[in-house]
Point group: C2
Chain length 198, copies 2
DNA sequence: ATAAAAATAAACCGATCGGTTTACTTTTGC
DNA sequence: GCAAAAGTAAACCGATCGGTTTATTTTTAT
């Protein structure tokens, strides 16, 4: 274990290989429905290796949720770092980015939401990871709203999160370019906070 | 099978007993995670009886989704039938009713959304039942929006569904009286359709 | 070159999965 | 009152579940 090449964030190549395969399978087929045998086959890794890195399936699920969160954070950070964008444009860019996810025919909802639905009340660590993911999402939106200079950034962020989650939930059912102009809806909700007190 | 007392909508008492137990378990623990043995124990019914009514577990799941839909439809119909409410008040009442669901600590998301996440691409009939549930929800909102006399009732209904789904998704994570005034948010989205073209 | 570390394939484990079958009892209609 | 229908309990089925073990091979560091 001494000299394995560490790829990033303390994850070795083999671990990443397993997590990626598990991530794809969980995303497509859900957590309970995906057996460990299928994961190891997809990852092209022996079961023993798998269990040397992840003591239980649920700990692998935790790692996958961490991987998912890292992916999302990288995407969002790239938006936040674009200096040419105003705070308002960054918020719109966050929604545009989310739409890229939603239009994928393989999109079956936010992984954290699905994990919460399957493990709420059954695995505290997973529950907490899902909760933390949403806290992070809300934090991103809130700090952007604060930059906007609106009266109550926390409340506006909460409203935007409702829009984001709502779009994600519906996206699983309606597979087509969104019926409405999301950008306009987001702007409208933002506008109400720059004009009146909320 | 000739003379069994039919309770409602072609469902016998025994069937309802099974569906109710399965409904509670699926709602709390998810579909894959809930085994048939647990369902029959909870329903106080032998496995043979269970399988005489529902040929497979997935057909039981279909029946449970139908039961869920009937429950929701009954609640919504009670709102729609209140003559003292304006169309706008009825829309607000729909959201108020949804909040009653959301604040329940046992609420783990819309059953149709969860079923879609677990069975999308795996069981066409279940997938379709979930889809039809959302179509019904959208239809209720659209007919109310049409009554409102707004310019584009379909688009407003879609926006309201986004709000409804978003609230539901978040409700699993944030267990507390909602941070924002939902009624105000709904009114705001509706107002934009009565004033401008959309 | 060699020994430790890390990987593999595959047999194996008890438990549970969805589902069937057998043998028996209760309820019901006529 | 009696036969058919509908119910029960429980053994049983092959498959799969999450997880372990064994025996062997490959990789890697010195």
């Amino acid at each position: 274990m001494c000299s394995e090449t560490v790829i990033s964030k303390g994850i070795t190549a083999k671990q990443l290989q397993i997590v990626r395969a598990a991530y794809d399978l969980f995303k497509e087929n859900g957590f309970y429905a995906t057996g460990v045998d299928l994961i190891m086959r997809r990852a092209q890794v022996s079961k023993r290796t798998m269990y040397s890195y992840f003591v239980t399936k649920n700990q692998l699920i935790l790692a996958v949720l961490g991987h998912y969160r890292n992916n999302c954070q990288d995407e969002i950070n790239q938006i936040l770092q674009r200096p040419e964008l105003s705070s308002q444009d960054k918020i719109l860019a966050v929604f545009e980015n989310a739409e890229k996810w939603f239009v994928d025919t393989k999109f079956h909802g936010c992984l954290a939401v699905n994990a919460m639905a399957e493990f709420a009340g059954k695995d505290e660590a997973i529950e907490q990871a899902c909760h933390q993911f949403k806290v992070w999402e809300l934090d991103v939106l809130r700090s952007l709203c604060t930059e906007l200079g609106v009266q109550n950034s926390a409340k506006l962020a909460y409203k935007l999160l409702i829009l984001l989650e709502g779009m994600g939930a519906i996206a699983q059912f309606v597979k087509q370019p969104c019926l409405i102009d999301i950008k306009q809806l987001v702007l409208q909700v933002m506008d109400s906070h720059t004009m009146e007190q909320n």
